[in-house]
């Protein structure tokens, strides 16, 4: 019956496509896009395929930044909710209940229309010296700049991380052998910093941090975020942070009380108790739920259609408006989102497996 229904739908698609002269093939991908994409070097003469690639890049940019921001903010608020300080825990609770119960689209539209589009013009932008330039054209923050040797920077970082991991392993082994405090974290950090500093001096500084500043009517230095991107990022991060906070709180509360008491009995300090006993176990509980929130955030980035930030969905919508066939376009869009979802699931499943309790 299901198969028959599917065949009926497919038959309808074919018949309608013949009737309206809209093709079902993916040939449109090679046609010129005929629409520009704000905030990128994309030209209307480039193909629809290139437009979709730009859109995918924008989706990934907003999703990655959003995941990082939401995790940091959410963890802080989740821990704040468990504070013994009444004011702090109350404020965290109000934040969570406020943002969790408002539609995320309302937040996105609010951030765009009522906050970022109301910022001062570039000429009279608010500047926090050396850190921020806030204007309706763009919000700029400090960013790194390479002198064309980006691969070198990447290489140095990889070597430094490898060195840090090696040092940490060595200290851990020393700890297992002798039982003396081994300061693995400190040693690894020192190794990382040492390698980076040495390489930096040896190569003559291939990278530096630039602060944004106004040069007359031009914004220079740092990285400039257009208001659409900034609004979407803020709204998604604030909304998801409220969910992350609840997950963090629940996971910490789910760690059995006895663990904390046992750690106290072993005379661990409160910091050690949190870092070495409670948090590792809470993480194990939190990871699957967090993975769900990361998936949601990625999918919610499609709300950009409401504020014209050119990520995947907006690009697809605009390309359909400029004569790309609807059915193949949406099919492609769904496949890309499914691939994104599966990638995030795969990564978080891997993390989950690493963290999972090894039982007999």
């Amino acid at each position: 019956m299901v198969v028959a229904f599917g065949l009926w739908l497919a038959g309808n698609v074919r018949a309608n496509s013949a009737k309206t002269n809209i093709p079902l093939s993916f040939d449109y991908l090679d046609q010129p896009a005929t629409f520009p994409i704000a905030g990128s070097s994309f030209r209307p003469t480039q193909s629809v395929r290139d437009a979709i690639v730009v859109g995918l890049g924008n989706t990934v940019r907003v999703a990655l930044a959003g995941i990082v921001l939401a995790t940091v903010l959410g963890t802080l608020i989740g821990i704040a909710r468990l504070s013994t300080n009444w004011l702090v825990s109350r404020a965290a609770k109000v934040y969570v209940e406020l943002f969790r119960n408002v539609p995320v689209l309302v937040l996105v539209v609010f951030a765009y229309l009522a906050v970022f589009l109301r910022l001062p013009r570039l000429e009279d932008a608010t500047t926090v010296s050396g850190l921020l330039v806030i204007s309706v054209r763009a919000v700029a923050v400090p960013w790194t700049r390479t002198d064309g040797r980006g691969w070198l920077v990447l290489g140095i970082l990889v070597v430094a991380v490898a060195a840090a991991v090696a040092v940490a392993r060595w200290r851990h082994r020393a700890f297992d052998r002798t039982g003396q405090p081994a300061f693995a974290g400190v040693a690894a950090t020192v190794a990382f910093v040492a390698v980076v500093a040495a390489a930096f001096l040896a190569t003559g500084g291939p990278v530096d941090v630039t602060a944004p500043h106004l040069d007359g009517r031009v914004l220079r230095g740092g990285i400039a975020m257009p208001p659409e991107y900034a609004a979407l990022l803020c709204a998604l991060a604030l909304y998801t942070a409220s969910h992350v906070a609840e997950i963090v709180r629940g996971s910490i509360q789910a760690v059995p009380k006895g663990q904390n008491e046992a750690a106290t009995a072993l005379a661990l300090s409160s910091g050690q108790r949190m870092r070495q006993v409670v948090l590792p176990q809470a993480m194990r509980i939190a990871v699957p739920a967090l993975a769900n929130q990361y998936l949601n955030l990625t999918k919610n980035s499609s709300l950009a259609v409401a504020i014209s930030y050119f990520e995947l969905t907006k690009v697809t919508q605009v390309s359909i408006a400029s004569r790309a066939p609807a059915v193949p376009s949406y099919l492609l869009l769904m496949v890309i989102y499914l691939a994104l979802s599966l990638t995030i699931s795969a990564i978080t499943n891997q993390v989950n497996r690493r963290l999972a309790l090894v039982e007999r």
Binding site: N16, N101, V104, L105, V106, V109, F110, R118, A306, Y337
Partner: protein, 400 residues
């Protein structure tokens, strides 16, 4: 405990705590000051006041608004009936034994109701204060009276016929739809009424579909299982926005012209299928939580597989997942704002449109209207989530 002792143990336990309190106090104080200033001083709420009807019922014809009033009063009555019957069932044993029921003073009851529904009651009061005529006051009074009457009647309905009361909220929305749709058809609904229409119809429709998908996923027939898994994972993997856009643009390709339903029905289909996929996963979790022994015991009693599922497994499974289902329905309620993207006149779209009216144009009133729209959703969603937590506590999920 005196105020000083309380402050000492909750705000100033030691020096670090005191510093935290002062820093947090400054930040919270600043945010509160800005919020209060916006609400009382700088906010220009005239635009909301003028367009209150548009926010609530969209372009529903003035002469037909009595229909909305009738439905509101009826909904209050049904809600009261359900609450009364629930209360009766909880006290069922005491009634059967003839034990005298504990009498709760009237003032205590009112206080309980206010403590439980303060967000909704505050919103109601705010709406009434914003209204310019007396009829909303009458409607609110009638609705509250109907709710109280329903509560009393529900508590006096014997268990034997009580089950019918629980069927009412699921059946009635479908029955009153033609009554409400009559003056303006399907596609011109707007405001909060459109949101409630989309949310309630999708909610009712997605539930059976979700349960079927969950059962399909656990079926022993490989083909059925594969189709169910495919449908569930597919619709969970793509954003709802894409489905909503598709329902607007691309769904027309999948149906013959004359069979294609209207815009509202298409978007309801999108919400229904999307939510059903999530409901299916929730119900599957519930099914897995029912011990195997239950099925085996039912088999030993010689029940047919259909009866085992319908009478033994499903009731226990659903009871365990009520809070998660309510959570999903809250998401659905909030997600109905997505119809803004395809040009429906929902609350969000009203908030955007009214700032473009001639008398309000170019004044930058979008913050005010969006805050009001957000408030409407916040109250609905927060009330539902509090009720869900109550149910969770009552059922004792996770504690036994």
């Amino acid at each position: 405990m005196t105020a000083v002792a309380w402050a000492r143990s909750n705000l100033f336990r030691n020096r670090r705590d005191a510093v935290t309190t002062i820093v947090a106090g400054l930040i919270v104080g600043w945010v509160l000051y800005r919020t209060a200033r916006f609400v009382v001083v700088t906010g220009r709420w005239e635009v909301v006041r003028t367009n209150l009807t548009l926010f609530l019922v969209g372009r529903y014809p003035n002469g037909d608004q009595w229909r909305v009033a009738v439905v509101a009063i009826g909904a209050g009555f049904v809600a009261g009936l359900v609450a009364g019957q629930v209360a009766r069932r909880r006290l069922g044993a005491a009634i059967a034994n003839g034990t005298p029921l504990p009498t709760v003073p009237f003032t205590d009851r009112v206080r309980d109701v206010v403590a439980r529904y303060w967000p909704a009651l505050t919103l109601l009061l705010l709406l009434l204060l914003l209204a310019r005529t007396a009829s909303p006051w009458l409607l609110a009074a009638a609705t509250i009276a109907a709710t109280v009457a329903g509560r009393l009647l529900g508590a006096r309905t014997p268990r034997r016929v009580g089950w019918a009361i629980f069927a009412l909220p699921a059946v009635l929305p479908l029955a009153v739809l033609p009554f409400l749709t009559d003056p303006l058809g399907w596609d011109r609904w707007g405001g909060m009424m459109l949101t409630l229409l989309l949310a309630s119809v999708s909610m009712i429709a997605c539930f059976p579909l979700g349960v079927l998908l969950a059962l399909g996923r656990r079926s022993t027939l490989p083909a059925l299982r594969a189709v169910s898994i495919g449908v569930i994972e597919f619709f969970r993997g793509i954003p709802l926005v894409v489905l909503v856009l598709m329902s607007d643009v691309a769904l027309g390709f999948f149906f013959p012209r004359d069979l294609l339903p209207g815009k509202v029905v298409r978007v309801i289909v999108a919400f229904t299928i999307f939510t059903a996929a999530y409901v299916a996963e929730i119900v599957r979790g519930g099914l897995q939580s029912v011990p195997r022994g239950q099925t085996e015991a039912a088999q030993a009693l010689g029940l047919s597989p259909v009866r085992i599922t319908g009478l033994i497994v499903l009731p226990q499974a659903l009871r365990n997942v009520i809070p998660a289902l309510v959570g999903q329905f809250i998401s659905l309620f909030k997600d109905t704002t997505l119809v803004f993207i395809i040009g429906f006149l929902d609350v969000l779209s009203v908030a955007d449109n009214v700032t473009k009216q001639p008398e309000f144009r170019g004044q930058g009133l979008i913050a005010e209207t969006l805050v009001f729209a957000a408030l409407l959703f916040w109250v609905g969603s927060y009330t539902l989530s509090r009720e869900s937590q109550r149910i969770e506590r009552k059922l004792g999920v996770g504690t036994r």
